[in-house]
């Protein structure tokens, strides 16, 4: 296990390097002259030339990449054009809100999905199972940003049960109950699709194990059904955990971003949306770098957890 864990942790380095390389290459493709953005359109040619020199824009690309990496390692993600602040400060500030939404939705999706999948597997072939399968197929096809709009219209505009957006009420202090009240709709919108996908995978993982020979052997030996079930779950767990982790990553750095935009949730999704609208390229690039690091760490945690649960993975 220790050898596997070490190798897997070292794999983070090339993955993060690859992400920074991708961001660097794409930044080169981005339109616009950096000196024009920094000095404004009326700067003299001489001033631009000296800025280009001091920024190292005349250096070969690989030198510029290493400069970029050096800045990243010192926590310098560049300055946001729109916010006139270091990108890292803004992203760090917004990431907390994204985590609040993403982790809440993730917990709902994982707990609900695993429970639903188990129910479906235990009652394989019954009406419950078939209904779950059909409904989950429909729910997983719903775009999160569209579901958010539908939820807002029904529960915020029509029934007025929940707020239409934001993270806290304008008046009053940021209390927990106020936060929960604001969380219900966006967390639901972000959780629905991953919940149904986790339910499907849980179901098929359990059913795949359920037909295994070793369970027949256990039953033949008279092992009570409760313990047979425990063996089933234990053997299905690695693939369920893998899928839960993957879905959590996609949720946090995928569908939740769109949900944030619709609900005006002050996280990195809304920040990305605003950065796109104002062509704030350093901000977009910074957000992608930070998200890639977070995504890589989530994947690392999932792989280590799976390896701890399943000795076969460790080879």
């Amino acid at each position: 296990m220790r050898r596997y864990a070490l190798g897997r942790i070292l794999m983070v380095v090339p993955v993060v390097l690859g992400a920074t390389l991708a961001v660097f290459v794409l930044t080169q493709l981005a339109p616009g002259d950096p000196t024009a953005t920094l000095l404004g359109p009326n700067a003299s040619d001489a001033a631009r030339e000296s800025l280009r020199r001091s920024l190292g824009l005349h250096d070969p690309l690989y030198v510029q990449y290493f400069h970029y990496l050096g800045h990243l390692l010192r926590g310098d993600l560049g300055r946001s054009i729109e916010m006139r602040a270091p990108v890292l400060t803004v992203v760090g500030d917004r990431f907390g809100s994204t985590l609040v939404l993403g982790v809440t939705a993730g917990v709902v999706a994982i707990v609900g999905g695993v429970a639903l999948g188990m129910l479906s597997a235990v009652r394989q072939g019954t009406v419950t199972d078939r209904a779950t399968t059909v409904v989950s197929l429909f729910l997983m096809s719903m775009p999160a940003y569209w579901l958010s709009i539908v939820l807002i219209y029904v529960f915020a505009v029509q029934f007025r049960w929940f707020p239409t957006g934001q993270m806290h009420s304008v008046t009053g202090g940021p209390t927990l109950s106020d936060l929960v009240w604001h969380l219900v709709l966006p967390a639901t919108a972000a959780a629905v699709a991953p919940l149904t996908i986790i339910a499907r995978v849980t179901r098929s993982a359990l059913l795949e194990v359920a037909s295994a020979d070793f369970l027949l052997a256990l039953r033949a030996r008279g092992v009570p059904e409760r313990r047979v079930l425990r063996h089933t779950v234990k053997n299905a767990l690695p693939s369920i955990v893998t899928m839960c982790g993957l879905q959590f990553g996609y949720l946090l750095l995928g569908s939740a971003l769109f949900v944030e935009i619709v609900f005006n949730w002050p996280g990195i999704g809304l920040q990305t949306y605003n950065a796109v609208a104002s062509r704030d390229f350093p901000m977009i690039a910074g957000i992608v770098v930070v998200s890639s690091v977070v995504f890589t760490l989530i994947n690392l945690a999932v792989d280590l957890l799976t390896a701890a649960l399943d000795p076969r993975v460790r080879v």
């Binding site: 794409l26 197929l137 994947n299």
Partner: protein, 302 residues
Amino acid sequence: MSEQVLGAEVVAAAFPPREVVQGPRHGWLGRTWRRSPAGVVGAGILLFFVAVAVLAPVLSPSDPTVGSTADRLASPLTAGHILGTDGQGRDILSRLIWGSRPSLIIVGASVFVAGGIGLVVGAVAAVTGRLGRTLVTRALDVLLGLPPVMLAILVAASIGPGLRNMVIAITLVMIAPMTRIAYQSATVIKGLPYVEAAVAAGAKRRHLVAHQFVPNMLAPVLAYAASIASLMVVLGAGLSFVGLGIQPPQADWGRMINDGRLVLPVAPYVATIPGVALFLLAVGCNLLGDSLRDALDPRLRT
């Protein structure tokens, strides 16, 4: 002559054709329907949207990009505007019909390109030595380590908006997962007797890739492509939703949903109707993907 005909009759009587025993004759469609109704429904939905996209100039009742302020926010079922009009007085049905084009083009083109790349890279990696395998698996590790939505947004923001650039962005997102599936099925195929036989018969690597690997990898890759296509439909419209895709006044479902947010309290249908179309297309892809996967792997059948 007559003996031969008599012989045929005897044979036919001794071995009655199956449809005589099993009831009325079913065509290809009927057999497929009985085996997988969900798959037929999914394929039907996809064909419907393809037909709508192709026939858009004929079907569309009015110009999708021009509206009149007098007709702003007409509710559905208004005369002349079956699905109503949006905030700029444009006919929603017409925009819906034309908006099917970018969605289908993006998904179709990116599945085709990413699938093709995945098949070739996966097969080549399987027949080359250890170096090729290591290179491909390590490259996949890096690419799959990038969050897909963020990657798409970054690419689209860098190379600019528009249909062609959206195809590029979505293709780049799809290459890694498609190649992974292709490579996985190639490693399975590599251990099968017919590949061994071909190698023993002296087949060259090029022949192995083109005639042994790619044709047999096609089915699992296609099944995966259909499932992932539903995610890409949603992601593609999502790029337009964020403002990185199809630019106004061109019709696009994601764009229409975002435009409708402004008038949601007074005219909820503007944002919700294009979402229904998007949802149906995603359901079609998922149904097709599921039944293709079931046909390939009966263990997972629901």
